[in-house]
């Protein structure tokens, strides 16, 4: 059993226009949610390099949340579609490494959906709790990270496109 005082840690990558603004709205509306999330602002969810997600998982995050505009509403027309494509591939690879499904999550949250920010974060924290710490390094040893990175080959990407 893991340390009873353990709290899941989530790194979130939110796009500037929709999800980051929605998180601001959650604040302005004084909605309350679990304090386990650390938000990194990017201009578009399309900027989320899969390596950011791997770096967060390798660096001690127990889960990663990506937030972007709804499909069709991307501030940059279609950045979120690219995110989706990449995310699905990455998710399959991560599953191959034994990563539990709820640990990496993609959500479309518009600037008006402050309450969705609250719900998603709370739900994710609750889903991560029974899974315990990720401890990625201990699972795969020092090689885990490199192996995961190397698995993202152009062939794998083409197969998924």
């Amino acid at each position: 059993m893991h340390d009873p005082n353990w709290e899941p840690r989530i790194v979130a990558f939110f796009c500037n226009w929709c999800t980051y603004t929605a998180a601001d709205l959650a604040g302005v509306s004084r909605l309350k949610y679990a304090p386990n999330v650390r938000i990194v602002r990017l201009m578009c969810s399309g900027r989320v390099d899969p390596q950011f997600i791997l770096a967060a998982l390798a660096g001690g995050a127990d889960g990663v949340l990506i937030g972007g505009c709804h499909i069709g509403d991307c501030h940059y027309a279609e950045g979120n579609l690219k995110t989706l494509r990449r995310f699905r591939l990455l998710k399959r690879l991560l599953a191959g490494f034994g990563l539990e499904e709820p640990r990496v999550r993609l959500e479309w949250i518009s600037a008006a959906e402050g309450d969705k920010v609250r719900c998603v974060i709370n739900e994710m924290v609750e889903q991560l709790r029974p899974l315990g710490p990720l401890a990625w390094g201990q699972r795969h040893g020092a090689q885990g990270w490199q192996a995961a990175s190397a698995a993202i080959t152009p062939e794998a990407e083409a197969a998924h496109a």
Binding site: G27, V40, M43, A56, G59, A111
Partner: protein
């Protein structure tokens, strides 16, 4: 990239804002400042009550000078609110404005958490990430781009009209695009305006003609915006101009063609009179319509339907030759620098509340229908009449129909209380009917409005507080025979009442336009949960949107009365004018660029860019980014297999350092 700026002695100043009690009430600011002070490179770490205030900004500037800071981190509110403020402050203090990073510990921390220690730990983690990140920042220059001086105003209601006139009077060229065949919007249908009871037409129609006559305004009615491309200062907009089958340049509005139409009487519901009167297939929307040009309803015109019409209208027009059945839809492309969206609202469909009997009982009408009845230019010449032509002896108003109701719309439509009281007074003026108003709360907050409510009370209009349960024609008592009966709880008296009346007026609320979502996408705006267009900030930027150069005004942003709509129209015009008169726009330099030595020329980035900003240089076999076209989304950066595309302000190492920073245990 100025690589030198990343080396050398890094001297960071960290400032955490209390924001009164907004942050300090939850986060232990002194503790955060204490923790951050221990980090390498941090020269000063302070907490202060209001960092955004003048003394707060001076604190930073003094430290830049006295402690030779070359990086600044401020932990306070959202960067979307005050990043600009602090960047300006450090620039004034002598630093490049991009040697700055902001930490959001209000919207993302103190306002959303109640657990003090956890919130403080979160603030420390976020601040640590920013301190790590800011070390890597580079000096950058803001990019300046020219701004096209013309403005597009979408929507020709009172808001759009006022915005267009303000800009045009300021010497700007304006394109005013209206979907309907005439400008005027909802206000054109009103008889009088509250609380002064002055004539609506006397305010509106001179403005409408001013639009038509103004040399700086190009008015396109019967037209819609179908495509918007570009960015602030440089929008390319495609407008679809639907045919009216009458040449606008040739028609003088004599209306002899209408007279001559083979339909001797009007046969089709007149949109302007909300179906209370009939019009012909060739018509002018209303007498004061601007432009004063007739149009032909293609769906109803015999020529279009059968091809066998005698075309008496063409004969009547004679040698003016204004009628042109061959007119086709046109797509026109225009270039503008700013766009003002003033697309207004639609009225709630009263049929959605079946228990009020709208559509079932002919003498249940909506407030806009009554508005047409009391207007002297309306279908009854200003007489308030029942459907059978009698004058009503008693009239009841039901307020909050489709407003403040969790089953329909939760919001208050803001104008219906005042609008109903105005109509109630007009009904008293036009008839000798008893008037009863059923209300939840009377909301009369505007200037002169509470006084108007007092006047209504003194004039003998009865007010009953309670939501009406139903309207029925089922008479239980003799005095209810042949009448409509309102069943409502009188919450002040604590009794359930049955009140028989002749006419019932439903004060229907405001709703976002049916196509608000399409319009939102067209102009790259956001909507609130209710569907109204979202302003950038309710107080700091009430008519701006998240897309620079696109402004909103009037009821498309939320329900409001005429004075508020006009005030917003003026505000939006001023915002546009401020941008135009400055002559240039400053763009965030968050563009992508290619590290040429590392580019393998695989071209995988090229199809990813929605703005076609990436090209391929054949001689060198390298990708090339046109910074003027790049909008800075960073999608290509994340996709480049060799990592040779970078993004200013969002460099890979900056983001990696942020990730490490938020995850480092204290």
């Amino acid at each position: 990239m100025n690589t030198n700026s990343r080396n050398g002695d890094i001297r960071i100043g960290f400032y955490i804002c209390h924001c009164g009690r907004n942050i300090a009430g939850v986060v232990d600011c002194a503790a955060v400042a204490g923790e951050i002070a221990k980090l390498p490179g941090v020269v000063v770490s302070r907490d202060y009550k209001y960092m955004c205030s003048e003394p707060g900004q001076e604190l930073i500037q003094d430290d830049i000078r006295e402690r030779a800071l070359n990086r600044v981190v401020v932990a306070s509110c959202s960067p979307l609110l005050h990043e600009h403020t602090f960047r300006n402050a450090i620039e004034a203090g002598g630093l490049n404005r991009f040697f700055f990073q902001m930490v959001n510990i209000r919207e993302h921390d103190s306002w959303v958490h109640t657990d003090g220690p956890a919130a403080t730990a979160k603030a420390i983690a976020l601040a640590r990430a920013a301190v790590r990140r800011v070390r890597l920042h580079c000096a950058l220059e803001t990019v300046r781009a020219p701004i096209h001086p013309d403005v597009l105003v979408v929507g020709g209601g009172i808001t759009g009209i006022h915005a267009a006139l303000t800009l045009a009077n300021g010497g700007k060229k304006v394109f005013l695009v209206e979907r309907e065949p005439s400008i005027g919007g909802h206000m054109a249908k009103f008889d009088k305006t509250f609380p002064t009871l002055d004539c609506a037409a006397c305010i509106l129609t001179p403005k409408m003609s001013a639009v038509r006559a103004h040399e700086n305004i190009r008015l396109w009615t019967n037209s819609e915006v179908v495509k918007v491309e570009g960015y602030v200062g440089n929008y390319t907009v495609t407008v679809r101009r639907r045919p009216r089958y009458v040449n606008e340049e040739l028609c003088v509005g004599c209306q002899e063609c209408i007279e001559a139409c083979v339909f001797k009487e009007g046969k089709f519901p007149d949109e302007f009179n909300v179906g209370l009167s009939k019009r012909k297939p060739i018509y002018i929307p209303f007498p004061q319509a601007v432009p004063q040009v007739v149009l032909i309803d293609r769906e109803r015109c015999l020529h279009f339907k059968t091809g066998k019409c005698k075309r008496t209208c063409v004969e009547a027009c004679a040698d003016r030759h204004a009628i042109d059945f061959t007119q086709k839809e046109e797509l026109v492309e225009i270039k503008v620098g700013n766009i003002i969206v003033a697309t207004g609202f639609k009225l709630f469909d009263a049929g959605r509340i079946p228990q009020y009997g709208y559509g079932r009982y002919p003498n249940v009408v909506t407030s806009i229908e009554l508005e047409r009845l009391v207007t002297s230019s309306g279908p009854t010449g200003g007489d308030v009449l029942l459907r059978d032509g009698r004058s009503p002896k008693s009239v009841a108003f039901i307020l909050c129909v489709g407003s403040r109701d969790f089953r329909t719309n939760r919001w208050c439509s803001r104008t219906c209380c005042m609008h109903s009281m105005k109509l109630a007074q007009l009904v008293r003026e036009h008839t000798d009917a008893e008037v009863t108003v059923f209300y939840l709360d009377i909301r009369a907050p505007g200037k002169g409005c509470e006084e108007f409510y007092d006047k209504s009370l003194k004039e003998g209009i009865r007010f009953v507080r309670g939501r009406v349960a139903e309207v029925t024609d089922w008479a239980l008592r003799e005095e209810e025979e042949g009448k409509l009966v309102i069943r409502a709880e009188d919450t002040l008296a604590g009794v359930v009442r049955r009140i028989p009346v002749d006419m019932i007026v439903l004060a229907v609320g405001m709703e976002p336009q049916a196509d608000a979502q399409d319009v939102r996408r067209l102009f790259n705006m956001s909507c609130g949960t209710e569907g109204w267009f979202l302003e950038k900030h309710p107080k700091l930027a009430p008519v701006s949107t998240f897309t620079d150069g696109v402004f909103i005004a009037g009821c498309c942003q939320g329900p409001k009365d005429i004075p508020d709509s006009i005030a917003q129209a003026g505000a939006a015009a001023a915002e546009a004018m401020a941008l135009i008169d400055r002559g240039f726009i400053e763009q965030e330099p968050n563009t992508a660029y290619i590290a040429e030595a590392e580019c393998s020329g695989c071209k995988s980035c090229i199809p990813l860019c929605p703005y076609k900003a990436i090209g391929f240089d054949e001689p060198t076999r390298k990708a090339r980014i046109n910074a003027a076209l790049c909008k800075g989304c960073g999608t290509c950066v994340a996709a480049c297999p060799s990592g040779s595309i970078r993004q200013h302000l969002f460099e890979d190492d900056e983001i990696f350092s942020e990730i490490e920073g938020v995850l480092t245990h204290a």
